[in-house]
């Protein structure tokens, strides 16, 4: 029982870290991994999803519906931004750093001005359960499940649907996709919207567990970028193993040496993984497959 309890505890922690990395990264995996847009406002899409979720729940909607609202709202904001700003930057992805950083400043401070420096949360749903020596939050299991479902859905969307094929074609050689009849503007818009919506979903899912402040997105952004980049160019092949590797390392080091070790070890793992696999995990997987 002792061992079982410890084992479960570790799995739970690794799963928790995995879920956080996957959910933090999934929206970015699309926007950055697919479109090459370095979206420093990713955290603000998460914040948007979280805020809308909280508003919706306070207005009386059940939490799942609230999260759906948050997802949708972030997606719409994403589409709007794509039309106004991002659209003009596809052929110079590095400039997106500056533009999205600007958007992030506007969003964070704008929300602060409009909605105040902080907002009351909604509280974590579901209760706790006990396994062995420890008690755990059930809601965290929901987060883990959500991470897996999101990964599977994304894989299916991008590899099995026409939209996915068109999106990848558009991102790789836009003018040829266009010349072959793909409405690339629409594809860009939808892809960016999808990425934003996923960020919103993450915000909605984590809203009940976090302090609601305009800068809340910042805590996701580092982990998100690290996961996506360690994953490499092929987002779906890469993100899951990257999140798994980093999640296990982070959980192990945190439980052994505390949060600082967890954070630093994850960063060092990133440096080592990229040194060993200069094209990320998916680059390596693809090469091995030949």
């Amino acid at each position: 029982m002792e061992i079982l309890s410890a084992l479960f505890a570790f799995l739970y922690q690794a799963g928790d870290a995995f879920a956080f990395l996957v959910l933090a990264a999934c929206g970015l995996a699309i926007i950055f991994g697919m479109m090459g847009v370095i979206n420093l406002a990713h955290g603000e899409f998460i914040m948007c999803g979280a805020y809308v979720t909280v508003f919706a729940v306070r207005a009386g909607l059940p939490l799942p519906l609230g999260i759906a609202c948050g997802t949708l709202a972030a997606g719409l904001v994403g589409i709007l931004l794509e039309l106004l700003v991002v659209r003009h930057l596809y052929n110079r992805p590095l400039d997106t750093i500056v533009a999205t950083w600007g958007i992030s400043l506007i969003a964070t401070q704008g929300v602060l001005i409009l909605l105040g420096s902080t907002m009351r949360g909604v509280g974590t749903p579901l209760s706790s359960f006990t396994f062995g020596d420890y008690s755990y939050s059930q809601y965290r299991l929901v987060l883990m499940a959500a991470a897996v479902v999101v990964l599977v859905l994304l894989y299916l969307i991008f590899n099995k649907t026409r939209f996915g094929v068109h999106a990848r074609a558009t991102i790789q050689v836009p003018h040829m996709a266009e010349a072959l009849g793909v409405n690339t503007r629409l594809i860009y818009c939808l892809t960016f919207g999808l990425g934003s919506a996923l960020a919103g979903l993450t915000g909605g899912l984590y809203a009940p567990t976090m302090t609601m402040v305009p800068s809340m997105g910042a805590t996701f952004i580092m982990e998100a970028f690290v996961t996506v980049v360690v994953g490499g160019a092929d987002v779906f092949l890469g993100t899951a193993p990257a999140a798994a590797v980093l999640g296990v390392i982070k959980a192990a080091m945190t439980s052994w040496q505390g949060q600082l070790a967890g954070q630093i070890s994850m960063l060092i793992a990133v440096i080592i993984v990229i040194r060993v696999l200069p094209n990320g995990i998916s680059g390596w997987l693809l090469r091995e497959r030949g």
Binding site: D16, G121, S137, R140, T209
Partner: protein
């Protein structure tokens, strides 16, 4: 007559804005009252306010600006200890005078600084013995992994030991971390009687929600929550239930002085989310400064310090009487022990009057004699003699 110029550098945006915006309001409220009543020795107060954006380099730029260009008489500046340390060299370089109106980890012995915030000997030597008596002797600390957290944790360690308790764990959390599942499990592993949470910033505040969701129900103590971040107002009950905080003021303090203060405040700032400890500090600090200037007959730093050296600079603040200790230039306070209920209501099981910031002076800091311009800690005290 030329006005008395007060520089105000506070984080009105960024990570710390939630706790800091009320500080600016406190300063503005006191200024308005004083100006209405004729000013400081007949001189009006003029505020020069800059938003430091929770960014330490901005403190450096703006501190230089208020001292060198705006030529203010005094500066009210800083939320985080890091921001204070960023601007302190500049205040020293220009021989200015700065008020730091924040509770902090203590130990700053600097003639250019006046501190109205509470310090560990005021907050922990009251809170910890009380809690250990009530809940037990096994203590676990989680703290923000920087000077404030580490030095506060050092204080906790020392006071727990002095009172015959046992530290069963200590964990430091880097700033900005918002995920605590593992920490929660680490705490469960050793089953402490008391959990001291010295977490800072809005990201770390997520701890409480997550701990409650995992059904972790250890009585908690803190020097920062409630009083600074009003988490009991922001979080859904009962995530902060069973939290105990020693603070020199919060808006639930139920005295006539406090009530009068709150009604004035709400009249001017009806949408204020909360009037926290730092807001009250900032408010009464203006009155402290007024008294110093009037008694010194000047805004000259040395003359003001001469007044402080007399040891009787006191005001009747909303919290109660506040006096400046001449050796350390820190403030004495009324300390309220606030206990958070399951519905996040606040009760005050105990109140201590006139708790002095004694440690620095006892340890050897005496600004009436010398000015080391340094920060000390229990394990790194001032050199004796």
């Amino acid at each position: 007559q030329s006005p008395v110029k007060i520089g105000v550098l506070e984080d009105q945006s960024g990570e710390f804005a939630a706790a800091t915006l009320p500080k600016v309001h406190g300063i503005e409220l006191a200024t308005e009252e004083i100006n209405k009543a004729g000013g400081i020795a007949g001189r009006k107060i003029e505020l020069v306010v800059y938003d430091t954006q929770s960014d330490n380099t901005r403190y450096q730029e703006m501190m230089r600006r208020v001292l060198q260009r705006d030529k203010v008489d005094v500066v009210f500046a800083g939320f985080s200890s890091a921001s204070r340390e960023a601007y302190r060299p500049i205040v020293n370089q220009f021989n200015g005078l700065a008020f730091y109106n924040n509770q902090y980890e203590g130990g700053v012995c600097d003639a250019n600084m006046i501190v109205t915030g509470a310090v560990p000997e005021q907050q922990f030597s009251t809170l910890i013995p009380w809690m250990m008596e009530k809940y037990g002797k096994k203590v676990y600390t989680i703290a923000a992994d920087y000077n404030f957290g580490q030095i506060s944790a050092e204080w906790v360690r020392q006071i727990v030991k002095e009172n015959g308790g046992e530290m069963v764990g200590e964990e430091f959390i880097p700033l900005g971390v918002s995920q605590f599942s593992q920490t929660i499990q680490n705490i469960q592993r050793v089953k402490p009687d008391i959990l001291m949470t010295l977490l800072v910033g809005t990201a770390q505040a997520s701890y409480y929600e997550q701990a409650a969701a995992a059904n972790l129900k250890v009585p908690m103590g803190s020097s920062v929550n409630v009083g600074q971040g009003y988490e009991h107002k922001r979080f859904t009950p009962p995530s902060l239930a069973n939290m105990h905080v020693t603070t020199n003021y919060i808006e639930e303090v139920d005295t006539p002085e406090s009530k009068a203060f709150i009604s004035k405040w709400r009249a001017k700032y009806p949408n204020e989310p909360y009037i926290n400890q730092e807001a009250e500090n900032s408010y009464h600090a203006i009155y402290l400064y007024k008294q110093m200037v009037e008694r010194a007959g000047s805004t000259d730093r040395e003359k003001i310090r001469g007044v402080i050296a007399k040891g009787d600079v006191c005001v009747d603040a909303p919290e109660g009487k506040v006096c400046i200790d001449p050796k350390s230039q820190h403030a004495s306070h009324t300390i309220y022990l606030a206990q958070v209920g399951a519905d996040h209501s606040i009760t005050f099981p105990k109140v201590w009057n006139d708790i002095k910031p004694y440690w620095l002076g006892d340890a050897g800091c005496d600004l009436t004699k010398s000015d080391p311009s340094a920060q000390y800690t229990p394990s790194n005290p001032p050199p004796k003699g």
